[in-house]
């Protein structure tokens, strides 16, 4: 399974960015081969509209299965994630990526 975290920085110790569409970075972790990658999402700030769908598209292109974020995706982005079959979990604000991943595994985030 591939998980995407919205983050304010890079790596497992980065803080979760509560925003979805305008998250600064995405941290993508592939459980199968234990590989992770950081994606700089800052170019989204150049777009006045459609940040949510744009970031959702990025998750689709990276074949992500699960999204872990803070506030949750907005209406348009949520529709795109739904259509793509990406499950979304929110409430991970104030956590690091590592903490959010553990909370997710224990079922401690809102699905």
């Amino acid at each position: 399974m591939k998980l995407a975290f919205t983050t304010k920085g890079k790596g497992w110790d980065a803080e979760i960015d509560p925003r979805f569409g305008r998250a600064e970075f995405l941290f993508i972790y592939d459980e199968e081969n234990n590989e992770s990658v950081n994606i700089d999402n800052s170019s989204v700030s150049e777009h006045a509209h459609g940040a949510g769908p744009m970031t959702a598209q990025l998750l689709i292109n990276n074949n992500v299965n699960v999204l872990i974020t803070g506030n949750g995706a907005g209406g348009n982005a949520a529709r795109v994630l739904d259509a793509a079959g990406i499950r979304s979990f929110s409430g991970a604000d104030d956590m690091t990526v590592k903490e959010a991943y553990e909370a997710f595994k224990k079922g401690g985030l809102q699905g």
Partner: protein, 283 residues
């Protein structure tokens, strides 16, 4: 002749000035009041009339027809607003984000994205004794005010071209505010002389300069706050044509949905000044 009543800050008194000014002028010549603040139109609280015309307003959005589509993804590449997305084996349209530019539809190699009308709001034209009043209202849940404001401008240009039209504009300096002053011959900026009001006032002045608009200022709630706005206008050669005093009695009338242009001498004098300025400037 089109006069936009704008002002940056919400609550500075745009509707107050627009409704009273239109009513004042309507006693002298053919006048229209047009509520372009389509996300929260409230001029109708002060103007009551018979409906003379109404229409439903649509914007055009693409609809995906998958039978010939090869999923080449051209549509999502050309969309500047991320309103068209390739999601797995289908093309998804997000109507609220679509700006009706037709790019995806026109550039689709298989013509799989025909444009179709989508309802966004209503336009209602009322007649009172002296005044034509047009109110446009965006449907709940719609995100884009601009296409409805644009349609209302067209309606005004066609049906009310012989009137002096006073347009009640939305607050802010974003797309709806820009669209609502687009056809205006003169923009009256209603300024609230507070620190907060001054902050937003500078933004709207900058936006109007960028658009090359002729601007003038009415200071509303004069007597509260500070002198920043008046000083700024003097330093930048922006004419302040009238001031409406801050007065609890005016607020009481306003809160009951009543007009005041003919009820207080100082207020009538202010509207006379604005009217005279319009006549002299736009001869």
């Amino acid at each position: 002749m089109k006069i936009a009543v704008a002002g940056g800050k919400g609550g500075s008194g745009k509707t107050f000035i627009a409704t009273n000014l239109a009513s004042y002028i309507s006693e002298k010549e053919k006048t229209a009041l047009v509520d372009l603040d389509v996300e929260e139109p409230n001029s109708a609280l002060f103007i009551r009339g018979e409906i003379s015309n109404s229409e439903t307003v649509y914007k055009m959005i693409p609809e995906w027809n998958g039978s010939e589509c090869t999923l080449c993804g051209k549509c999502q590449t050309v969309c500047n607003f991320h309103a068209v997305l390739k999601v797995k084996d289908s093309i998804m349209i997000l109507p609220e984000l679509c700006h009706s530019c037709y790019a995806c539809s026109e550039l689709c190699p298989t013509s799989s994205l025909p444009m179709n009308p989508k309802r966004i709001g209503t336009l209602t034209h009322y007649r009172t004794k002296n005044l034509d009043f047009v109110e446009s209202k965006l449907d709940i849940g719609e995100e884009q005010a601009v296409p409805l404001i644009s349609r209302t401008n067209d309606y005004m240009n066609y049906h009310l071209k012989d009137n002096i039209s006073i347009c009640d504009c939305p607050p802010g300096t974003a797309c709806p505010a820009v669209e609502s002053v687009k056809d205006a011959d003169l923009v009256i900026l209603v300024a609230e002389p507070t620190t907060f009001g001054f902050h937003d006032f500078k933004l709207i002045v900058k936006a109007m300069k960028e658009l090359g608009k002729r601007i003038t200022v009415v200071i509303n709630k004069s007597g509260i706050g500070n002198q920043y706005t008046a000083d700024y206008c003097r330093e930048n050669n922006i004419p302040v044509i009238a001031e409406v005093p801050h007065d609890r009695k005016l607020a009481e009338y306003y809160s009951r949905g009543e007009l005041v242009y003919d009820k207080f001498e100082a207020v009538t004098a202010a509207f006379e000044k604005i009217y005279r300025y319009i006549k002299e400037t736009l001869k």
